[in-house]
């Protein structure tokens, strides 16, 4: 296996960027030293990954897997990577991150692309005729991945979703492809899940932490990153009303229902965006700051959590990334 090359020294170059919409999110790619062709290829790569991974596209590889009823399905290397990382994340978080929650998410009301639920704020997103799940999600123990044959197999009755890992992994893959395509530095932001690679600008990449409605007073912490990734998850976004009660997309795998966590928002810094994104889900479900500290420390990551009272809790040494 190849060892990573040392980080290059900071570079001064004209930054170039492209912004568009994909994976149900705003996407922004900033590069130093990339050509127009490389940027265009990066944009196409994001759309390609969405075509392969979206559960809302019946012809996507994930949808075909979910419909295969236990039969092996040929998938691309990118999807093999997605599944492998998803299962590793399931093991590493002791099931707190679970890519098999899709049936529970649908049962809770998230059965279509989020913009289609209803426009405007969570108070007016209303879904009826829901049959909530009342049992634990199936988990990943039975998922089979045949690297040599390029196939994946889900146990009958198990469905997977790239939500919770897909945007982060796409950011990792596209950042790597930009560097391979000649860029000296890259920042790939897909829906707020961000990977930075290559030589950072002088002073590092400056990344604001948008806590949304999690804190009452105006507070936008900023971090400076030379390399790695940061991701944020929250129960305050992607929320809707269900039979008079507020529901959201963070499912507790133990119950199959939207979680009632101690924290409303979790931001995690890690070496890769897929890993940061997975850990945000697990951190949100931590029972306490101490539990989150243990989780992130063991994972080699750091984080910033916000509780239900709007208090911010730096975890595992995130202060060294904050300005």
């Amino acid at each position: 296996m190849m060892l990573p090359t040392p980080l290059p020294t900071p570079v001064e170059a004209v930054p170039r960027q492209v912004a568009f919409t994909a994976m149900g999110s705003d996407v922004r790619i900033l590069t130093l030293g990339a050509s127009d062709v490389a940027l265009a290829r990066a944009q196409l790569a994001v759309h390609d990954l969405e075509r392969r991974w979206s559960r809302f596209r019946p012809d996507s590889e994930v949808s075909r897997l979910n419909a295969a009823c236990g039969r092996p399905v040929r998938v691309s290397p990118a999807t093999t990577t997605l599944l492998t990382h998803a299962v590793r994340g399931w093991y590493a978080t002791d099931g707190a991150f679970d890519p098999t929650v899709v049936d529970a998410v649908v049962a809770a009301g998230y059965d279509r692309p989020f913009p289609d639920l209803v426009e405007s704020d969570p108070g007016s997103r209303s879904v009826t005729s829901i049959s909530p799940m009342t049992s634990a999600t199936p988990g990943c123990a039975g998922i089979g991945i045949d690297q040599a044959a390029g196939t994946a197999t889900l146990p009958r009755g198990v469905r997977v979703d790239a939500g919770g890992i897909g945007k982060g992994l796409a950011a990792d893959l596209v950042a790597a492809s930009l560097l391979a395509d000649g860029a000296t530095a890259a920042l790939v932001d897909i829906g707020g899940d961000i990977r930075v690679s290559g030589g950072a600008p002088l002073g590092g990449w400056r990344i604001d932490i948008d806590l949304g409605g999690a804190v009452r007073r105006a507070s936008t912490p900023r971090m400076v990153l030379r390399a790695g990734a940061v991701a944020t998850s929250s129960i305050l976004r992607r929320a809707w009303m269900r039979e008079g009660r507020r529901a959201h997309h963070i499912i507790d795998p133990m119950t199959g229902a939207p979680a009632n966590p101690a924290f409303t928002t979790a931001t995690v810094v890690a070496g890769a965006a897929w890993w940061a994104e997975v850990l945000t889900k697990a951190a949100l479900l931590a029972a306490s700051v101490d539990d989150a500290e243990r989780l992130l420390s063991a994972a080699g990551a750091v984080g910033l959590l916000v509780d239900g009272d709007g208090r911010q809790h730096p975890v595992s040494g995130v202060e060294r990334f904050l300005q």
Binding site: M1, M2, L3, P4, T5, P6, L7, L30, P72, V87, R88, W90, Y91, A92, D94, G95, A96, D98, C140, A141, G142, I143, D146, Q147, A148, A149, T151, K167, G191, G192, A200, G203, G204, W205, I207, D208, I209, D210, G212, M223, V224, R226, A227, G228, V230, A231, T232, R237, P253, M254, T267, A270, G271, R294, L295, A298, A299, G300, A301, V302
Partner: protein, 124 residues
């Protein structure tokens, strides 16, 4: 080619860490073929490959001894550490240094802080 998969029903999530670790170790030749055990504390670690099939499984006469990976700096990316450890072990080394991914840029007193962010992380 066969797909390695446990025959037992899927376990409930949120197992205790110790039980999860025992299941990981006992569960298979899947983990044993790669034979990696990352040395962390309470959180169980995933095997390097979820289900090993094809040439890897067919060619493995016996599982190699587990490789204990001790990461001494929490800033080190786990994937990078595992890859470096495998490479080092193959070369007969018991210690390897890797560049730290996810690095912070410390701000010294008097540094000019640019007020324009490059990006914002947020829930979506």
């Amino acid at each position: 080619m066969t797909t390695e998969r446990p025959s037992q029903p899927s376990p409930r999530p949120r197992r205790r860490a110790a039980e999860a670790s025992r299941r990981l170790i006992a569960g298979a030749s899947t983990a044993a073929v790669f034979g990696l055990v990352a040395a962390w504390s309470a959180v169980p670690q995933p095997p390097a490959a979820v289900a090993v099939t094809g040439l890897e499984a067919a060619g493995a006469a016996a599982p190699p001894a587990p490789l204990r990976v001790v990461i001494t700096d929490p800033a080190i990316d786990r994937d990078v550490a595992v890859a470096a450890a495998i490479d080092a072990a193959a070369r007969g080394l018991d210690r390897v240094a890797v560049p730290i991914d996810a690095t912070a840029v410390p701000t010294a007193p008097g540094d000019q802080v640019n007020d324009a962010p490059h990006a914002a992380t947020h829930a979506s």
